[in-house]
Amino acid sequence: MSRNKFADRRLFFYFLFGGSAVLLLITLFGIQVINNSYKISAENNVIKAVTIYPERGYIYDREGVLLVTNQRAYDLMVTPRQVRLLDTLALCEIINIDLEYFNKNIKIAKRYSTRKASLFLKEISKQTAAQLQERLYEFPGFYLQERTMRQYPESSAAHILGYVSQVPDYILKKDDYYKRNDNYGISGVESSYEKDLRGVQGTQYLIRDVWNRPKGSFANGEYDSLAVNGKDIELSIDIQLQEYAEQLMLNKKGSIVAIEPSTGEILSLVSSPYYDPNLLVGRSRSPNFNRMYKDANKALFDRSLLAEYPPGSTFKLVNALIGLQEGVIYDGTRFTCDEGWRFSAKLKIGCHAHRSPLNLIESIEQSCNAYYCNTFRRIIEKYPTAAAGYENWRNHVLSFGLGKFLDNDLYTGRPGRVPTVDFYNKQYGEKRWKAPTVISLAIGQDALVVSPIQMANMCAVIANRGHYYTPHIVRKVDGAPLNDSTYSVPKYTSIGKKHYSTIINGMERVFIGKHGTAKTARLKDIEICGKTGTAENPHGDDHSIFIAFAPKDNPKIALAVYVENGGWGSTWAAPIASLMIEKYLTGKISNTKQEAFILNGNLMNTEDAK
């Protein structure tokens, strides 16, 4: 009927409509049926995992004294959309921030989200939080969120305990367990026993809408997990001894390490200057850390584990033992000392004035340098080449736990250095050095360095007459004693047990001998064995060193004392060692005059670091 010559063009419409519908269906099939990623994205959208934080484990000393506990702290959170502030200054005043901080952090929070809560101010103390809580109704949009911080009732042993802070980025990257702003043990026992202390976080799955408002639990909590609190830890530290050691080291730089020889348990581990561990908690952590980090006395540096000093004359004991073992000396061997050991016009090791010649025991009592130069030379020259003799000597030294990492449960440490043959080959040329070239090793100088804890361990070796248990800081985790062969199997030196008694007799003479180098530090009722040392210090006054153990039989404590710039070993280090031993074994101090002298002694070139 109609003039409909273009009726064929209807086909175009069928193709257009049909083709478009097919295109939509194919795409939808791809998105809805083939591709799975959208389903996962949808779940991520709505299901929000809320972390339930476990309580971090407590730390006790060996007597059960609580050293580390947790305190409640509060984070101030802000939801920018809900903020209706009438009196900004009042808020700033309560939480002690300035307007600049306020504006900056509100802006940061807004940039993140106006509807979601952001951290505004972290780790507010309980007291401030209480004040704020009363007036929080005046500040809509702000709320307090509870979290825990560490607290240190004893205010000591900061280096041992370490500190807890937000998990650092490099850990976040490699360990899935942690989320941003989680607590993490940065140093000390907090670091080395992090996995035990932290516990296990729990997770609660909640359904949230686009504005992060909770809409109930997911699948009736079927997938939720509970938090498991951290394990409590008992340290081998005797906190009374530790605190006494810290008092003795007040205003001195250096270190005290005390070990129970029969177990390898560390009784005290002091690095001075030290600080109150409560300084590195909460909001004050960052300013305090920065202040101490920049301080010239390096209070944050753990000298007991990280400092490497020459052992000085204390090392003569090791050389004496090697000499006996190698058969190059015996008890009665005497060497002359002409105020030192002269090899040539150029090479001379000086010594103080004393009667000559001395036998082995007397050489320890009076710390004769010449005696050990001769001994060392004999040890090396027993072998056809200096290198072979040296290598043999070096192996003996290594068996005392020197020159290598202790591989224990302390979070850090240093291997020290017992120079290798290569080391001297590089320095002097192959076959261009002999015993006299490296003769300072005889008296614990040259390139030989050890850390204070290695020194204390060396002392423990002698106290044990030839073996040691790897020094460690933790006795029990979660009430159960450590079950680790590293600490329960003794490590023997290459020196026969019989040789130790002579050396120990010499060490006793250091206190009770007529010419003993530490006779002023002698104790009436306790048989102490010790050895003074003085380490040459290219940067200033010599370091005062002392190692000692007591009692002579069945020793209960072995220790090493380093006092930087303290001069002779007998001046500072020996009295400190003696006071420590008396305090530990008897709980009292008989020589109060000496104690007062030490307590008041000030060797710091800058003001009180504490």
Binding site: R10, F12, F13, Y14, F17, L28, N45, V46, D209
Partner: protein
């Protein structure tokens, strides 16, 4: 049949059935999209599902009157209705309520009215009226321009609001002119222009130039019309290359920033799931997470918890996709294909040009909404804010589409009475 002049005589029940199926399915999804919001009653005049029921009921009132009126009414008053709609479009620019930077709405107290949704009816009636003149020759430039003018006037007014989505819908009515005999070359040129525009934006000017040149040479060679084809080939090449050069201007100076970023997103030039791409990303997650069978009625998490914006209006398809899965998508698309094909079949059986043009116009407008709307939710098209007919929440659009469709149903029912 003619003596059986009851109210429902000759009504195409297929279209009516599809229409009510869509309303029902649409309403269920509006209900689901609002579900879980909490306290208030969803079937009340405070909530979208309740209001939509009201719009559905009032649409039925409109339908009643449309079917009641004589079929001649529409042919007689086409231009008058057109003029009235144009006045409404001018008026909204003056007294309209500004929402989101566009003056598209009349504020009528508790309700708002979007004249563009109703203008479709007027424009289509006027176009049908014009094209149904006896001895009209669409090969004549004058006729072409007049037909275009009927379309262009409302398009310009809508662009002033501005409302790019509705403008595109009006422009699609050009397809009706094609059915009525306008030379195919126009459609080809428009198709080529759109292709070149996309290629240039996607691959930059140099690549687009090379592609165009190579394709033109190939065509010139394949058509093998000898020497005579060289000149037109060179001519079209110059035009094409000129167009490529001007794409930058069109893109940078005509389009507004949010439109540019929506295009960039589709072309994969930017990937920003938190900013410009947030809506599309969440929309695809909603639809994609539905899987084959869907999460079940009222169990969609994406839409229920407001991750998808505009979820009961322009993005209602997200709820369908999430809760009803691919099956729901298939049903929805099938309903539309059924509707569109039925419209074409009915349009072709009209005796009058007026009814046929109107039928094609209805099909084209509905297709345009259907395709653009679903395509934008799944990332085939840039985000263009137009509703899914009979599904999306909204009084103006539901009224507009219902009136549009039922005038055709009336015209179709009336077809025996019209000779021409």
């Amino acid at each position: 049949m003619r003596n059986n002049k009851t109210f429902f005589a000759n009504i195409d029940w297929t279209l009516v059935t599809i229409y009510f199926c869509m309303l029902l399915f649409g309403w269920l999804n509006i209900y689901a999209a609002n579900y879980g919001e909490g306290a208030y009653n969803l079937i009340s005049m405070q909530a979208e599902p309740g209001k939509q029921l009201f719009w559905i009921a009032t649409s039925c009132v409109w339908i009643f009157f449309i079917l009641l009126l004589d079929g001649k009414f529409y042919t007689t008053f086409s231009y008058l209705i057109y003029a009235f709609m144009v006045l409404l479009l001018i008026g909204v620019l003056i007294v309209g309520k500004e929402i989101g930077g566009a003056k598209s709405w009349y504020d009528l107290g508790s309700f708002s009215m979007q004249p563009a949704e109703f203008a479709k009816v007027g424009v289509l009636l006027a176009l049908s009226k014009y094209l149904s003149q006896l001895n009209l020759n669409l090969n004549k430039l004058e006729t072409q321009l007049r037909a275009l003018a009927i379309l262009t006037l409302p398009i310009l007014l809508i662009m002033l609001q501005p409302d790019a989505g509705s403008a595109i819908v009006f422009a699609s009515l050009f397809l009706v002119l094609f059915r009525e005999g306008i030379p195919a070359v126009y459609l080809t040129i428009i198709g080529l222009a759109i292709t070149l525009f996309i290629i240039t934006l996607k691959f930059e000017i140099l690549t687009a130039t090379i592609i165009t040149t190579v394709v033109t040479i190939l065509f010139g060679y394949l058509l093998k019309k000898g020497r005579n084809s060289i000149k037109p080939a060179i001519f079209s090449l110059i035009i094409g290359l000129g167009f490529i050069q001007s794409v930058g201007y069109l893109y940078n100076d005509i389009l507004r920033p949010h439109q540019r970023s929506r295009i960039d997103l589709i072309l994969g030039k930017i990937d920003d799931i938190h900013g410009a791409g947030y809506n599309l990303h969440q929309s695809k997650i909603a639809i994609g997470s539905g899987g084959f069978t869907g999460k079940g009625f009222l169990d969609g998490t994406q839409t229920k918890f407001n991750f998808v914006p505009e979820q009961s209006t322009d993005f209602i398809f997200c709820t369908i996709g999430e809760e009803w899965g691919f099956i729901g998508s298939f049903i929805t698309i099938s309903l539309f294909v059924g509707l569109l094909f039925r419209l074409i079949i009915l349009a072709e059986r009209q005796r009058s040009t007026f009814s046929r043009v109107y039928g094609y116009g209805v099909a084209t407008i509905l297709f345009c909404h259907f395709f653009i709307n679903i395509a934008m939710t799944i990332g085939i098209m840039p985000v263009i804010g137009i509703p899914l007919p009979f599904f999306s929440y909204g009084g103006s659009s539901l009224w507009g589409f219902s009136i549009l469709l039922f005038i055709f149903i009336k015209l179709d029912a009336y077809r025996m009475d019209i000779l021409r």
